[in-house]
């Protein structure tokens, strides 16, 4: 399984690649786009800032570093592919025309290895304008089943499909078994979403408001049959508990405030325990999220994934898988967080003999139905 790592500039390439990154991805928020469409309209899933490159020249520099070209800063080094995210949920005709010009310029100056795209209409335009460019279907296209993967890979000719973040290992296995010939990419570390990313119609994050799904709502619960708010103390206690737990879950999805554990591992969403199963399934690539993160966080993430992947090896069997998971938990240094499971991308991948899973539900129990 390849380790796909976010990158923000050419200076990050060498440390990331020497730490184990096999593939790199970046985003672009061109200055010309900013001038024309403003700060609020994003050409990909991140706004202006450290998560995005700003000019074609920056993409060219990054591509030379990634491909270790003779005229680049890493001449003679290990060449790795570079992908560019242009995965806004949709583009207006005007935005699409502008972005096509930018991408055509990128392709002419320093072709990247693939564009990560969501909008199927934009995929068609890009294929027409730059026929030789490879296109990956972004997770925002929402591929939840094998027919959707077929649609994206065969009908829209995407050379890789990035699966939904919320598919569990069993569902991924079904897809893999049904469409064995399609390159699949899954999420491994950092920044999960509460909603299905393709069906979240919000602006993701907004200065002053933050991330929509982390909004601290005041919540009133009503029963539909009589329209009245819940009132009994026991039921209220159960809902209070659920709302508090939900808040805690959301905090985990948002990297627990970007905290790090004792080994300086990011404590956000984590799929390290799922690596052995994902490797057995033949998943092509595992993604580390966080283009905007510090280089240190990216490096720590790459090192962690590489450590677990290499300790499992190829086709390592159950004992090797257990050992890889044990190392993952030890590396993370957060047994309580692992036990809670709220940070897990692949919660069923945890093993009871490694993680102290709670045997009884915390909080008030649901009443038995009569």
């Amino acid at each position: 399984m390849q380790i796909l790592t976010p990158v923000a500039g050419p200076e990050e390439v060498e440390p990331l690649v020497s730490s184990g990154a096999d593939e790199l991805y970046a985003g672009i928020f061109p200055d010309s786009w900013y001038e024309r469409f403003g700060r609020g309209a994003w050409p990909n899933r991140r706004g202006p800032g450290p998560a995005n490159l700003r000019t074609v020249d920056q993409v060219v520099s990054l591509q030379r570093a990634a491909h270790a070209t003779e005229d680049g800063p890493r001449a003679g080094g290990r060449s790795v592919p570079l992908y560019l995210a242009v995965n806004a949920p949709f583009y207006t005709d005007e935005q699409a025309a502008h972005l096509l010009d930018v991408l055509a310029e990128v392709h002419a100056a320093a072709p990247v290895d693939a564009f990560i795209v969501t909008d199927p209409g934009f995929m068609a335009l890009l294929r027409e304008r730059v026929p030789e460019a490879a296109i990956f279907a972004s997770t925002v296209t929402v591929a939840l089943n094998s027919e959707a993967v077929r649609f994206l890979a065969e009908d829209l000719e995407c050379s890789r499909v990035i699966l939904s973040r919320h598919l569990d290992l069993r569902e991924i296995r079904t897809i893999r078994d049904t469409v064995p010939d399609v390159d699949l990419e899954v999420f491994l570390l950092n920044d999960n979403c509460y909603f299905e990313e393709g069906f979240c119609s919000t602006t993701h994050t907004m200065p002053g408001f933050g991330v929509y799904c982390m909004t601290p709502w005041e919540i009133e619960v009503r029963r539909d049959h009589d329209g009245a708010p819940i009132s009994g103390p026991e039921e209220r206690a159960r809902w209070d508990f659920l709302i508090d737990e939900h808040r805690e879950f959301i905090r985990h999805l948002g990297n627990r405030g970007h905290g790090a554990g004792p080994t300086k591992m990011p404590l956000g969403p984590c799929g390290l325990c799922g690596i052995p199963e994902l490797m057995d399934l033949g998943i092509h690539s595992g993604k580390i999220v966080g283009r905007e993160a510090s280089l240190f966080r990216k490096l720590r993430s790459v090192q962690a994934v590489r450590y677990v992947r290499d300790s499992y090896g190829e086709g390592g069997g159950r004992e090797a898988a257990t050992e890889a998971k044990r190392r993952a938990i030890e590396l993370r240094g957060d047994p309580a967080g692992c036990a809670a499971g709220y940070s897990c991308y692949y919660r069923p991948a945890r093993q009871r003999d490694l993680v102290p899973l709670p045997t009884r539900p915390r909080g008030p129990r649901r009443p038995r139905r009569r």
Binding site: G121, S201, M214
Partner: protein
């Protein structure tokens, strides 16, 4: 303009059947569109709310009885539920549901229906017709965007893209569904055909509820569940959302009422995510409250258009050349 009514499930279908006025008395604004001509049935936001085939056939029978067409709404699905969805579609085809259309919110469902039932008309669902439905947008201004104005693309949708419409036509999709977000849509948001109707795509607008966000992780489904299965996509669900609606009171005030939009400290915004969850058991009366409110049903957040916003949405729908249907949601569409 054709008026349509939506019954998400069998219970709402029976309520519709029993009501002399088809419950349109609850949505007086809909009466200007004349008689109902089409029934929408099904849920587009959760695979666990897939109705059994017999309920879908009951909807087809009601539609046939009243001389309506039937539009069956499907959800986004995993492989297990793709098979179940196709069983219902096959049952509707076998039952010769009147003038059957299938709304798809999943590329896999689109591919299967097209392959197995080429005569069924395909409709692009609200989920796949991407648009900005962020309920915070009406309260966003240049102060949040570094001095920039709110972008005009926030008033657009996927159907506004000529390339997207051409691609849909290639895959047999003839129609689309749309919400009208709180900030409204621009003219041509569902396709500016520039006087060439063949380039456009007929669109149905759902009112007054619009989808903000949806996903397979469901807070309501987690009610009473142990930690190991809490807040993961449920394998099975007994749908507590059928009888539970959450009202979400926003921690900011309405911009158009002149109130301070957000908590401000020494000129800098405090991200709302830094605030504590201010949970209450009963919210203040809406008439005394300047905070926006939204709705949560199961795994999906919705907003409701009312007052001036509903009037503006209706005016937009009437003026938009591609919009030929209004779908009345008497209840939240789940």
């Amino acid at each position: 303009m054709i008026l349509c009514v939506h019954a998400p499930d069998r219970r709402r279908l029976e309520l519709l059947r029993d009501a002399d006025d088809l419950r349109l008395g609850e949505t007086p604004w809909a009466q200007e569109f004349g008689e109902v001509k089409r029934l929408y049935f099904g849920v587009g936001f959760c695979q666990h709310l897939l109705s059994p085939a017999e309920d879908a056939i009951a909807a087809a029978e009601l539609a046939a009885e009243r001389g309506w067409g039937l539009t069956y709404i499907t959800s986004y699905v995993t492989d297990a539920f793709l098979t179940k969805t196709m069983d219902v579609v096959a049952a509707l085809v076998a039952a010769q549901a009147p003038d059957l259309e299938v709304v798809v919110d999943d590329w896999g469902v689109l591919r299967r229906v097209r392959g197995e039932h080429p005569t069924v008309r395909l409709v692009l669902g609200r989920g796949l017709n991407r648009m900005v439905r962020d309920p915070r947008v009406p309260d966003v201004g240049p102060e949040h965007l570094g001095g920039d104005e709110v972008p005009t693309s926030w008033g657009g949708s996927s159907l506004g893209s000529a390339a997207f419409r051409a691609l849909l036509r290639r895959f047999g999709v003839k129609r689309g569904e749309a919400d009208v977000p709180l900030q409204g849509l621009t003219a041509g948001a569902t396709g500016d055909t520039g006087g060439a109707p063949a380039e456009g795509m007929a669109t149905a607008v759902h009112l007054p509820y619009g989808m903000v966000a949806s996903g397979r992780i469901c807070m309501v489904s987690a009610y009473g569940k142990p930690p190991s299965t809490r807040f993961v996509p449920p394998l099975a669900c007994d749908a507590p959302c059928r009888d539970t609606t959450l009202t979400l009171r926003a921690p900011w005030s309405r911009r158009d009422e002149g109130a301070e939009a957000l908590p401000v400290s020494e000129g800098a915004f405090i991200p709302l995510t830094k605030l504590l969850n201010r949970r209450r058991n009963a919210l203040p009366e809406p008439k005394d409250d300047a905070a926006p409110r939204f709705l949560q049903k199961g795994n999906t957040h919705f907003y409701e258009l009312d007052g001036d916003r509903l009037d503006a949405a209706l005016a937009w729908a009437k003026a938009e050349p591609t919009v030929d249907r209004v779908v009345v949601e008497v209840d939240l569409p789940m």
